[in-house]
Amino acid sequence: MPEPWEPRIVAFFCNWCTYTAADLAGVSRMKYAPNTRVVRVMCSGRMDPQFVYDAFARGADGVLIGGCHPGDCHYIEGNYKALRRFRMIRRVLREMGIEEARCRLEWISAAEGEKVRRVVNEMVEEVRRLGPLDLPGRAAEWDEEVSAHA
């Protein structure tokens, strides 16, 4: 019997704010959905759009990016760069037919463990409603179609 589908969300958290907030959520023993896998980056400004595309291409159902609040970046303004890039990423995803809710950027300060819990839970539920994205599967189907036509 195949296991029931569970959303898989790759989260990129900046070291100073959001990663620390997730640590705080842990220390506070807050409970949230186990569907995220955190990749630590020093700054949300390190977010290369390719990371997002790669995550989707490898089977992620959602991507969450967490950075410091505007004005609070440990590196002065990396989060603004992240915001600019995020807008572009979303445009590309839209072109690809990937729903907006699957990619989310959140400002979460080191003190906001509770926000980590809320955002993760919200996102897992939203993605669950959207269902599996399964880009690798779709890609395989397209390949088959293409080869059938060839």
């Binding site: 790759v10 409970k31 990371f51 490898r58 992620a60």
Partner: protein
Amino acid sequence: MEHRADEPRIGVYVCHCGSNIAGKVRVAAVAEAAALLPGVVVSRDSKYMCSDPGQEMIQQDIREHALNRIVVASCSPLLHEETFRKATERGGLNPYFFQMVNLREHDSWVHEDADAATEKAVDLVRAAVRRVRFHRALEKTEVPVHPDVLVVGGGIAGIHAALTLADAGKRVYLVEREPTIGGHMARFDKTFPTLDCAACILTPKMSSVKAHPNITLWTYSDVTSVSGYVGNFKVVVRRRPRYVREDLCVGCLECIDACVYKEGRVPDEFNAGLGKRKPIYIPFPQATPQVVVVDPASCIRVKTGKCKSTCVEACDRDAIVFDQKEEIREIEVGAIVVATGFETFDAARIPQYGLGVYDDVYTSLQVERMVNSSGPTLGEVRLKNGSTPRSIGIIHCVGSRDQKTNRWCSRVCCMYSLKLAHLLKEHTGAQVYNFYIDIRAAGKGYEEFFDRLREEGVNFIRGRVAEITDWTMTPEEEGRLVIRVEDTLAGFVRRIPVDMVVLAVGLEPAHDAQEVRRVLNIGCSNEGFFMERHPKLAPVETFTEGIFLAGCCQGPKDIPDTVAQAGAAAAAALALVDAGRVELEPNTACVVDEACSGCKTCVALCPYTAISHDRERGKAAVNGALCKGCGTCVAACPSGAIRQNLFEDDQIFGEIEGVLVHA
């Protein structure tokens, strides 16, 4: 491309952390799954990886199994990454051939389902295994540390930190916003639980600050910007004009007598509004520096230019200069101690307690001044009508432990309320009632002080006061203030008439804590106090290396704790500047020349101007000393020509692949 160690031979260590991880994650299963991953030579689980035997195990395995990559799956890297890097290094490997997995804060502690938590753990370990193969040997980078230290805030915390550092031979800049140092402590009468006089402890320290050859004291000044990095901060300080030359004024106070205002008109800040001062004033007799100050908001000369300026004439040293301008000073320091203190809760926010409505309702700070023999009433406790109170109610927890105001316990109010109860009883012989929710007397000699107060006949009523009212029911209540409270230990509601009410106001972050935090690039906890890096492991450090915390800016605390923390912050700053050099995380960026097209996209992006464009070679170049390792340029480079050490593209792609590929 540099040489990469041959075939990866990876050791994976899954920590139980007692039951912290093993209680939810099936650690043995994780280790078994890891053993099957490509490149993994050794995979073990162990009770406590951070313990000596745990670290020893890593070192031994490196030697025995010729491991060249290490993955430890335990707690947050912010806690123990350094520990395991060192263990890796002791085993004979470059310490950066190590990757850490956070199974505790990010997994076992936050999930309820053991299957899901175990599955997540396996995913995270797989990601680390895939990532660590791309790690490379890195050189530690070291930078020199500037030996001077900046202390921001001149309360007891800042004073103690500054003196400690100065005594150790360091040059210290002490910057204080007010015209004098001393902070809140200078306004207290006695200190608990020993009842020694606050001024007797504090003022000698204030004088030492002024006299110390290693301390530069700048009062009436603000830190307006901080740039640079650990060991090498550039700080801009704005010195506001006090219209009095510090180098000339000797504090004779002739000018104050000569002011065109014959009486004080402005509520006196130092006396919490109980007295009045003139526009030219000295905050209190022992103010440090002993220099008067002109308040631009009330001085006619400053406001309109039209005044006889009798103060100027009265000064035989020509110290009063109305054309004084603000001065900007730039300094370089290696470390910063932040000791910006607190503010007290504004009790008018709780109208039920009648501050500002009824004459004889006071804040605790006002009462500190009232019982002080050099305060506005010269130590006399008198009601507004001139009589001595026969009964006094002290209300604890005003603005604290309340969802509608501040949720936290302010820690000091119980003890200072006991102290005020003692002092008020001593001064007036009145019946004193303390209304408390819980008495928090956890400190050396504190419980004994509480015992003493009960023996002295102070009444303790366990109940939070709902209201102070002049609604009277009985003849004895007429003309007095009635306190409505449940005596929760007796189990009924009481109405207690008193003549005077003292509101034990709680402690809050300073109103501009958020701005200060931005200037310093440090964090705040939810309630607005500055956040320490770790409550136990790094209690005076912040997330910005080289910046340390002391005193109530980090959270409410009493004087003994404040001084202890100030000492700790000074020691931490000293350890940094005394070493003379500091090791930086080698997570800097570097340009791969062959790939760089010289487009200059990165140059403008760098917030630290660490990237320059070499016109001759037509390539960008990163100055490793200036780069702080955010990685923004790496993500932006259209040719993928910039690499960030420890966060290389391959490493991150490896991690992404690892969490998504099902083994």
